[in-house]
Amino acid sequence: MSTSPTSSTGFDPLAGVAAIVFPGAGHLARREPRRAALIAVGILGLFFGGILVGGIDVIDSREDRVWFIGQAIVGPLAFGVDYVHQHHFKVLDPQGRALRSAFPDEARNPVDGTPIAIKKDQNGTPTATYNDHGKPVTLSPASPPNIKSLSKVNELGTLMSTLAGMLNLIIIIDAMFPTLRRDNA
């Protein structure tokens, strides 16, 4: 079994930066499109697979900070998903003025992000009414912006998206320092 390094040697900062920006882009910059495509399939499959399993709740820089540190290594994509989660799904608690996940009987006011109570109308349809600059608007059917995942589904979703980040660290290092790849794979 040979352990000799590949012929490609040196330090490639451009590929390293590209790998940080998007999974697989570093190897694409090194003109290895097949490797780049397989990396993107693996990393993005794990990252979005985690979100599919556990919902957007698994990417949360406020409530799951330690896990988010691992997820953040996926790159700007992770920060983008976290931004969408924080600013378009969480509600602004009127008492503490802090962001939190909506309760199962709360919808999100699209104007100011505050929670609005969901009530059933005479037909049994869940509705929620909010004020849009003095004009009452009713959401029907109303639902919480997202449902928090619990137990194993949350654990596995979080684990999958964090694994994506940890694997991407190996890939960033491989793109930046291509000499580390060995022939005995």
Partner: protein, 86 residues
């Protein structure tokens, strides 16, 4: 009221999948995706890539199931023998 809201149509990527009973099936796609990404950076020649990916996936699944069985034996049989519950 809460239960009715939770039975509304699931929104993929927003709400969690209803996999509370079959969560263990996720072991297969997790191991496969980890192998795809890891082998993509490890191999120098892609001629045997998928064979290596499947081999690594099988190794991961066997190792995790093995650890699971070992933990089960430890918790259910070994520890009660060492420290019997009064």
């Amino acid at each position: 009221m809460h239960a009715e809201l939770l039975t509304l149509a699931m929104r993929p990527f927003i709400d969690p999948l209803p996999l509370q009973r079959h969560w263990w099936l996720l072991l297969v796609p997790v191991c496969l995706l980890v192998s795809i990404a890891y082998k993509a950076v490890r191999v120098t020649d892609f001629s045997h890539y998928w064979k290596q990916v499947l081999a690594m996936t099988a190794q991961l699944i066997i190792a995790i199931v093995g650890i699971c069985i070992a933990a089960f034996i430890l918790v259910q049989f070994v520890i009660p023998r060492i420290m019997p519950v009064a």
